[in-house]
Symmetry: C2
């Protein structure tokens, strides 16, 4: 007799992910493999002060169960925050989630039937691929370039496949770091309204710009495209801006979809930690976020520049790569004919530098030469040393003639 | 064009639940309708001190993403806690969840295919009914009495239906407050081992005994029934003992099931709030839990006694009810022929006292005269006043001849 697992588990393959995580734990390794923000950049003192406010002034809410929709003062603060970025959002539009990962799970639960088609960027966030596959989605990859998803190709794929939804990370995407241009954003919204296709905008990185802010979010721009808001789901997160320890994300969705997501959340985890929510609400009310964001942006800008400089200096002809304007990632390709980034990631780990091969980020047809580098948690000097190590690996594999 | 919702949403009916929640918000109402612990009983100062430890001594973990399985010091503390209750549990056996509701969701996700049969107590926790129905389960109610589920009937149902799993709340159950006898516990474990049937022991209330501790958990007893542990899933929670605001529960499961639950959790919410976990770990390490539990138990004992006394004094012949030895609930029935507790709950709310009709707690064949009373959040004097109001409602509906 064996445990009677559900068939949906057969849709998911996690060995590639497990292999990646093993790379991260090696002593002495310089890791560009993480997908995480640097917890050392968190405003620890500000958060601790906010927690104190939650315990001392809002204990009745912070220590109890709460509304599935979220803690009212946090919903208000998040709505205000989005309003400050030109989006028209009311507190009631916001569903607080246990990280934005839960928003993705609730989208899957409310919308995806087994066999439904879902269009994602090629490449995209790998936990989205697995999350939607657990609901039986058949994923279709849409081609991307430095400006994000190719909208002409996307339109053709929508016409061909009639997908349940389109999932995009328009700003400083994971894994590519690319940002969808303003023109393409408008085209995506028009596509949504014209074809009645749900578009999910996952936006955990939009605040992490290095210099100029990115184009407005699809959420903000939807006011300019009649009918588009009815098909738009926007997911946000405090994990990259404030602290991942709070485990707070949110979803803005059309009322009927939000109501079903609330119902599903009620039976998924009932509500997100009220203690975490009351702490975040107190922090946002304190007005400290803009300064904390400046600090985070400056650190990532410095590290990104160190990485881009090091890539040019040490890896010159061996790799091509994009020039992200924000976020945590550089997306690159080995230029050698037949280069296999999975194989090279193993060689690199042996030489003390880790990165993530690109293949698992593709729902279909992986680019086997691509790879992702994160500069987020590595100081600039170590970034340079890590890239020198990577250069030695490549030169060993491809010796000059 | 309308939003293309998934078919699984059609399996769920939440109007009864929404109607209940509306009752709770009326001003001046004395509410026995809640299913929640009293947040005023929480050890706020102890929790705040623990949070301070988390921020000041464990910030690197508390402010970052964490392992999907849970924060290692919390897994250790929870294992020790279960060991102190005679269960053989190692830290690696524990999966920390976002409340025990998430443990139920992960059980559904890993085990239930659409059309699978699941046996639950009649009546049982209504969020479990809805949670499993969202995965397409066909629920079957097993009869219960003052000693919990009728094991002879359960054996017949298992033979007849070959269910994917059996879900039980053996100790101070919701809604009945009943406790499964030691003899029946052993029989359930033997049934699991003999038939190869997964048994889920949901145990959020076991610590809340009024006088003597309840029989050992199925988890603890499984050591005495060879082969039973391989089929046993145990779910625990800190929501009723420490604070619901932490939103922390856990699951102990056979390794293969735990591994799949971890995988599903990775794509459901990645990890439970590390800040909440580090706070709970610091609290448990402080050794303050036993004293906090004494405080909570004493308060619920006093309120339960007030309710049982008031039922006898004011409602005498109009209701029958059980005598719970712990937990948050009294389960009762109106004795008048054809009594309808849903109708009476509306009349009662109009007269300033709220309770929950029993029907929604039944997966099939509801007992329309049954209802649930919670004494958890009401001071003894108000309990008495609330029961007097209820008596007036009943006497108005059934005037003496």
């Amino acid at each position: 007799m064996t445990l009677p697992f559900a068939q949906r588990l057969q849709h998911v393959e996690t060995s590639a992910i497990r292999a990646l995580f093993k790379l991260l734990g090696q002593p002495g390794i310089i890791s560009f493999a993480g997908g995480f923000p640097d917890a050392n950049l968190c405003d620890r003192q500000g958060l601790q002060a906010a927690a104190q406010v939650a315990y001392e002034q809002h204990a009745a809410a912070a220590l109890a169960y709460g509304a599935t929709e979220g803690y009212a003062p946090l919903r208000e603060a998040l709505a205000q925050h989005m309003q400050s970025q030109s989006a028209t959002v009311q507190p009631d539009d916001v569903l607080v989630t246990t990280g934005s990962q839960q928003a993705l799970d609730l989208i899957g639960k409310t919308l995806i039937d087994p066999g439904d088609k879902v269009i994602v960027e090629a490449p995209t966030f790998l936990a989205t691929i697995q999350c939607f596959r657990l609901y039986g989605a058949q994923l279709i990859g849409a081609p991307t370039d430095d400006q994000g998803v190719d909208v002409t190709a996307l339109e053709q794929l929508v016409a061909q496949h009639r997908p349940k939804l389109i999932y995009l990370i328009p700003t400083f995407g994971n894994p590519t770091g690319a940002t969808l241009s303003l023109e393409r954003r408008m085209a995506v919204l028009q596509l949504a309204a014209r074809t009645g296709t749900v578009v999910v905008e996952d936006d955990p990185y939009g605040e992490l710009y290095f210099d100029a802010p990115p184009p407005p979010s699809l959420l903000a721009l939807s006011a300019q495209v009649p009918g588009s808001r009815e098909w738009l789901v926007h997911c946000g997160s405090l994990s990259k801006t404030l602290s991942a320890g709070l485990r707070l994300g949110w979803m803005v969705a059309p009322p009927a979809l939000r109501a079903q997501a609330v119902m599903c959340k009620q039976f998924s985890d009932a509500n997100t930690s009220t203690l975490a929510q009351a702490t975040a609400a107190a922090y946002l009310a304190s007005g400290a976020l803009p300064q904390a964001l400046s600090h985070v942006r400056a650190a990532y800008r410095e590290r990104a520049h160190a990485m881009l400089h090091g890539l040019q200096q040490h890896l010159g002809p061996h790799v091509t790569y994009n020039q992200p304007q924000g976020g945590l990632f550089v997306w690159a390709r080995f230029t050698a004919p037949g280069a296999n980034s999975t194989l090279l990631s193993q060689r690199a780990a042996e030489q003390g530098v880790a990165f993530v091969p690109g293949a698992p980020f593709f729902a279909t047809q992986p680019d086997t030469a691509a790879f992702r580098l994160s500069f987020a948690t590595v100081p600039p000097k170590q970034i340079d040393e890590g890239l020198q190590r990577l250069a030695r690996v490549i030169e060993t594999e491809n010796p000059k003639k």
